[in-house]
């Protein structure tokens, strides 16, 4: 329970980190993040890097679905556009990652602008299907436009270089990824409280009322698509330097669905929810792998069931969350905080 928490200026009321406690925790988190790569095992470090990239893309999707209420089934395609742009600029034009990753973001942003154009005429389910079409078309282009993308062979990318030192191990990549992710998460939090963020939310809640109040629907929706695909593009660029190679198989429809799952399970419209969702959806398959490995002692065949079990667990988690906790992990976290705020009193 917050006592004595009154604001005297508009600036302090609108702040992203509102109380000294929150600011303190953020500092602690930053310190922990700095220390983490030196104490964590190799595989865990790799997973955290992967989750960082995925969380960035998932955040973009959350801006589109959670803030603006537009459904997109093509997020992986935008990530692919960003990846391929960064890879092509890095290999064919020799640009450094300082230029190629943002260029990937901008290219994905342009793609998002094109894909968002149908939102002028169609809404809801139909728009979702249009994004599905975009996913299929982009995927086809990645595989078949061989002159540009190298087809199924993909493109190999040399490691990023900062001041001459190559970023070729997970620890250095960690700092790069976390820096980019942190900046973009702050940007998203800032966007939420800005004029455009309020326009997004207005479009989500009652778009016709928003239009009456003066929000330009088309421009807002296009902007949402652009921001969301920019995030996906940056994530794609980071992915390329992290994985050192990009192939068309990296961006299938199932990745788009995974992003959807991360955003929905984490909590639509919630920024910490994005992180919860990403971590949850990445770690559950890992735990399952661990579990089937352990079960091998009792049940020798366990590991051959890993892939189908992953599908079943994925599906069951989504269904269970949607039925019992539609607001996702963020809501569970908020409930927990509220519980302890008043503990030992109830409500």
């Amino acid at each position: 329970m917050l006592i004595g928490n009154y604001k005297e200026t508009y600036a302090s009321d609108e702040a992203v980190f509102r109380t000294p406690a929150v600011r303190g925790w953020m500092v602690a988190l930053a310190v922990a993040a700095m220390v983490f790569p030196f104490v964590a095992g190799d595989y865990l470090l790799y997973l955290v890097n992967l989750m960082g990239v995925l969380a960035l893309a998932a955040l973009g999707l959350n801006v589109l679905i959670g803030f603006t209420g537009q459904i997109s089934l093509g997020h992986a395609a935008f990530m692919g556009v960003g990846s391929y742009t960064a890879a092509i600029l890095a290999t064919r034009f020799g640009l450094s990652f300082w230029l190629s990753i943002p260029a990937g973001g901008v290219a994905a942003c342009a793609a998002g602008m094109i894909v968002g154009v149908p939102s002028l005429r169609i809404r809801g389910l139909y728009l979702a299907i249009a994004t599905l079409a975009a996913q299929v078309i982009f995927e086809w282009a990645f595989t078949n436009w061989t002159s540009v993308t190298g087809g199924i062979r993909g493109i190999n990318v040399p490691p990023a270089r900062i001041l001459g030192a190559p970023i070729d191990d997970d620890r250095r990549a960690y700092f790069l990824i976390q820096a980019v992710v942190a900046v973009h998460f702050l940007l998203a939090a800032n966007l939420r409280r800005s004029r455009w963020g309020r326009a997004f939310v207005a479009v989500r809640d009652r778009d016709i009322a928003a239009e009456i109040v003066g929000v330009n629907l088309f421009r807002t929706k296009i902007l949402a698509f652009m921001v969301s695909s920019y995030y996906a593009g940056i994530a794609g660029g980071l992915w390329v330097y992290f994985m050192k190679v990009v192939t068309p198989e990296n961006f299938p429809l199932s990745l788009s669905i995974q992003y959807l799952a991360m955003v929905v399970v984490g909590g639509l419209g919630s920024i910490p929810g994005t992180i919860f969702g990403t971590v949850f959806m990445t770690m559950v398959p890992e735990l399952l792998k661990l579990g089937t490995g352990l079960a091998r002692a009792v049940w020798p065949d366990a590991q051959s069931y890993l892939f189908p079990l992953r599908d079943v667990v994925f599906g069951v988690l989504i269904v269970v969350f949607l039925i019992f906790e539609p607001h996702g992990l963020a809501e569970m976290w908020n409930r927990l905080k509220r519980f302890f705020a008043l503990w030992p009193f109830e409500k």
């Binding site: 389910l125 079409a133 086809w140 429809l253 892939f307 989504i318």
Partner: protein, 295 residues
């Protein structure tokens, strides 16, 4: 000229099969305003039920078909009761995600029960190809087309003329009004999902007979969106027309554009380009009902 004719006819016939798959989507949407992303997996389950009936239980095809229909109907009813009813009235993204989750569950369970191998269905159509003038049609294309047309006709007429069909359409149109007229909404939803599962099972068996069965059979489901949208999300006749048009366009693209583009295959992407065009120009498709927005 013969080549063109062959492409056209073969496209029409393939289109019939697409229409059968698309009908699975249309039936669900027509009755519940939900797009069921698990249609492909329901198809796959239906095919596996029939396959198991024929191989493990050694029954003739007609009985296997009945078994598959009953089993799929139960799956559909259970799905509706356990998963979709709690989500009545929730936003579209939730319902889409739940059907996607269901698709994953079905696929995983099928792989656990039947293993991921690819199997061929015991042959049920006569082997000989059929000649229509200068066109030769393989039996595995023609008979499924006839089955598709028959199934579509039955379902379309059912929706139009039976009381249950009218009840379903009324429920989809305006739940509250239907309820106040005495229609049992819960039963309508159960029936709708059972019907959807049955049509998906029939489509799945047909596709399985043509191309073999595996847990991946469901992947064809999402490829049918162009057909569904072109025909109109709530039009069964539209599914047939849309299927035929997409089948023909696909074949023509494959026959004429592929050789021009040396090696790249446009065949897969042409339906989705058509989908985008349809969504831009006429989102409700050829026969879909125009949604009137009331503030």
């Amino acid at each position: 000229m013969d080549h063109l004719l062959q492409l056209l006819v073969s496209g029409v016939v393939t289109g019939g099969i697409y229409a059968l798959v698309a009908m699975g989507f249309v039936v669900v949407y027509k009755a519940t305003r939900v797009i069921n992303f698990a249609t492909g997996e329901l198809m796959m389950l239906g095919a596996f039920f029939a396959y198991s009936a024929m191989t493990a239980l050694q029954v003739p095809f007609a009985v296997a078909l009945a078994v598959a229909v009953l089993a799929s109907a139960s799956v559909g009813a259970a799905t509706e009761r356990l998963v979709l009813r709690p989500l009545l009235g929730q936003r579209a993204i939730s319902v889409i995600m739940v059907t996607i989750g269901l698709a994953a569950v079905f696929k995983g369970l099928a792989q656990v029960v039947w293993s991921g191998e690819y199997r061929s269905f015991p042959p049920i159509f006569p082997r000989a190809p059929v000649a229509l003038g200068p066109i030769i049609l393989p039996s595995r294309q023609l008979y499924p087309f006839l089955i598709a047309v028959a199934a579509i006709a039955v379902v379309a007429l059912g929706f139009r003329f039976t009381r249950t069909g009218i009840a379903m359409r009324a429920t989809a149109d305006d739940q509250a009004a239907a309820f106040s007229m005495g229609i049992d909404i819960r039963r309508v939803f159960s029936l709708a999902w059972m019907l959807a599962a049955i049509t998906a099972a029939v489509a799945g068996i047909v596709v399985g007979v043509i191309g073999g069965i595996s847990p991946q059979l469901g992947a064809i489901g999402l490829r049918m969106f162009p057909v569904v949208i072109l025909g109109g999300l709530d039009s069964i006749a539209g599914a047939l027309v849309g299927g035929v048009i997409i089948g023909v366009l696909e074949n023509l693209a494959g026959g004429y554009l592929d050789p021009l583009l040396e090696g790249t295959s446009v065949k897969e992407v042409v339906p989705f380009v058509v989908l985008v065009l349809v969504l831009m120009i006429r989102p409700y498709g050829l026969f879909g009902t125009r949604e009137v927005e009331r503030l």
